[in-house]
């Protein structure tokens, strides 16, 4: 089904939004002080509380009321991406906080600025620690892309509905196809993340096949 490619496009867009915003929110929560940390926590609370469907409707029907036109794709990518960013932020926050404080101290003691230390020392380690939790979030948002059909987005699920509405006898077949598409997508995604995890494993610290608690001292 060609429509599944559209789901993949939406997935890529929402994961990218979620990753970038999620990282920012996590950094603000850990290093942002009371003010920015507070804003980041409110943001996270809002986007983790509101059901995905409600967010989709808000992003699709909201902007036109202010005279801003929005495509179903953009509305879905933003709604689901920002929602995912709230979840991803907590994965990253946990990872950042389990990097020993000595790492930051050592970086600062050599004359690196705080921002430089975060990007050169803390995040490269935190992202590695995040991979297992992040894979989980990934396989959850893959399926969320089907929700986009409610805003008229032409993705797999919507196509399946169209088929099942017009040819009732094909309904089961259509939904089984949708299920297959997601079995493949999830397997491909997890496989890819497995490769990433192996590629970036730190020798001696992370043993193959198991993630040791040692990195979380």
């Amino acid at each position: 089904m060609r429509a599944s490619l559209i789901n993949v496009q939406l997935l890529v867009a929402l994961i990218a939004i979620g990753f970038v915003v999620g990282t920012l929110v996590a950094l603000l929560q850990v290093y942002g002080g009371r003010f920015f940390g507070g804003i980041a926590r409110i943001y996270e609370w809002i986007f983790r509380s509101i059901p995905a469907l409600v967010l989709l409707f808000l992003f699709y029907y909201g902007p036109p009321r202010f005279g801003v036109s929005i495509t179903p794709f953009l509305a879905a990518a933003l709604a689901l991406g920002l929602r995912s960013s709230a979840y991803q932020s907590q994965i990253f926050r946990g990872a950042i906080q389990c990097i020993p404080t000595g790492q930051m101290m050592a970086a600062r003691s050599m004359g690196m600025s705080r921002l430089r230390s975060i990007f050169s020392v803390i995040l490269p380690q935190a992202f590695r620690v995040s991979i297992p939790g992040w894979t989980n979030e990934f396989s959850s948002v893959v399926k969320d892309t089907t929700l986009a059909y409610v805003v008229g987005f032409n993705e797999v699920m919507r196509n399946a509905r169209i088929i099942s509405d017009s040819h009732y006898e094909l309904a089961m077949l259509a939904f089984i196809c949708v299920a297959l598409v997601f079995l493949v997508l999830t397997a491909a995604g997890n496989g890819l993340m497995g490769v990433v995890e192996r590629r970036f494993r730190i020798p001696g610290l992370q043993t193959p096949g198991a993630s040791r608690g040692e990195q979380c001292r």
Binding site: G102, M110, V121, Q125
Partner: protein, 250 residues
């Protein structure tokens, strides 16, 4: 007087507890000074106040002509000139030994990768770890990790290196290799301020021993003088105790 490092009346409190109650001393270029004293006397805090990892509440610190404690001083520029060796090494665990040594020259000084790599290899060789360049910290022994962290400090061509109990986290049989590197550095004329209980090291290379207790410097002087004629009974008592503990007799 052009001292390399001047520490003047430094105070630091954590909550209601005053850890440093006015510490002053100076260091000439090329000197090695050893700071000793019971735990909880503020020795580590003193080192951290020097490079402002912990900001002092009162008092001033100068590196050469520049006041480190002044709020308008670019602290990153100062820190780039002061090496810091931690008790727990604090090597960056996602980088190889080589990566650890070359990261600061690259990211702080903007050195090119090839040049920084060359420099890092030289410094690793200096601490006897040329063959471990590609090993990650978790694959190295404690002694090797600490030597990498010394190489990491050296790669910035520091004016001064601060050592915060560099051998206290090591197994006894690994202490020697680290001290050996430090002794060589002292003899090459590196300026070093070392918090340690290794009296053998202090006797061998220290120009002065600073004995601290309860947040103040009780006494300071050349090792020979402190060992044979301490002015304060407490100094002699403490020296005897750690000499016993660390198997140092004469």
């Amino acid at each position: 007087m052009s001292k390399l490092l001047r520490v003047e009346d430094v105070h630091k409190s954590y909550g209601t507890e005053e850890v440093l109650k006015g510490v002053s001393f100076g260091m000439e270029k090329g000197e090695t000074k050893v700071v000793i004293g019971p735990s909880g006397t503020g020795k580590s805090t003193l080192l951290r106040c020097i490079n402002r990892l912990t900001p002092a509440d009162r008092g001033r610190v100068w590196l050469g002509g520049e006041e480190i404690t002044h709020t308008r001083t670019n602290i990153n520029k100062i820190r780039a000139q002061i090496g810091f060796v931690f008790q727990s090494f604090n090597l960056f665990s996602h980088l190889t030994a080589l990566g650890n040594v070359r990261i600061a020259p690259m990211k702080v000084k903007g050195m090119g990768k090839a040049e920084a790599t060359q420099l890092a290899r030289t410094e690793l060789e200096r601490v006897g770890l040329a063959d471990k360049a590609d090993a990650y910290p978790a694959e190295l022994s404690g002694g090797q990790q600490q030597r990498v962290s010394i190489a990491r400090a050296l790669a910035m061509f520091p004016q001064l290196i601060l050592f915060d109990e560099p051998t206290s986290a090591l197994d006894p049989e690994l202490i020697g290799e680290v001290l050996e590197v430090m002794v060589a550095l002292a003899k090459e004329g590196m300026t070093m301020l070392v918090v340690t209980h290794e009296m053998g090291f202090a006797r061998a290379v220290a120009d002065e021993i600073i004995f601290m207790e309860h947040g103040v410097i009780v006494e300071h002087g050349p090792p020979a003088q402190l060992f044979s004629h301490p002015e304060h009974a407490r100094t002699g008592e403490f020296l005897n105790k750690i000499s016993e503990l660390y198997g140092e007799t004469d």
